[in-house]
Subunit: 133 residues, 2 copies
Amino acid sequence: MQRRHTRQKQIIQNIIEGIGKHMTAEEVMAVLQETEPGIGMATVYRNLNVLCEEGIIQKISEKGFSFYDGNPVPHDHLYCLRCGNVFDIDAPYDSRYDRKAAEAAGARIIRHSTAFEGICKNCLLKEEEQQWN
Amino acid sequence: MQRRHTRQKQIIQNIIEGIGKHMTAEEVMAVLQETEPGIGMATVYRNLNVLCEEGIIQKISEKGFSFYDGNPVPHDHLYCLRCGNVFDIDAPYDSRYDRKAAEAAGARIIRHSTAFEGICKNCLLKEEEQQWN
DNA sequence: CTTACTGCAAATTGTTTGCAGTAGC
DNA sequence: GCTACTGCAAACAATTTGCAGTAAG
């Protein structure tokens, strides 16, 4: 089944790769509507799934959120318990972790990604300001 | 708002703590029906959420799965790409990881958990058997 | 007695699917 | 021209919510 190159798929890919951060299907849809109204939600989901299969983007499902990330390389995330936002953690991929887990589980590990929970930079700053009131 | 101690909540807690592995809300429901038919799905969800809030159990949402775990201590998981099952990884919690992430993001990290993807022990064994056919 | 909790059904959310029409190749 | 892809609506799964009745304190 030879895959076809369509306008809508190209546009969707451009949006996620261009914006430089992960977004939900809903957010992709919203951006899409600005320039190309009339494209259906189903098309968005279908193309996001295809792009994942092709390894061009990555689907991130953690802590009940679902994001699509233009950067297909596995990387870690921080979930801010205060503001609820999700941030990329820019730390190098540590394959020693894979080896340790492989040993502990007797399994072959392909990749990992870590979900951190805490308070993000912004919320920490806000908290500090509060101290002076 | 003083919380009340109810029979259904106690039963649900017993099930998850007793079974020694994480289970979906659906699975809790199934076990529940064997001994206590008539308890509604909504009650299961409500009590699971309350138990999470109280820190007695833990909700795990990764890779599109949602589990409830009787062990509230954060720990890592392996998602088998072959059989689709989820396994606990029994490795000690490494807080150095938290410190590294805190530094990289300028954030305060409370905890983390890592999702590994790979091939589980069972599937590796099956694969080996295939070699001889 | 008071009101938090229950069981049911209906609502909501996020995502997928069926189908007739459209458009890549 | 063939058939994969689209847009829409309907279907779906997982979870939450509204409500009248029940039971914990």
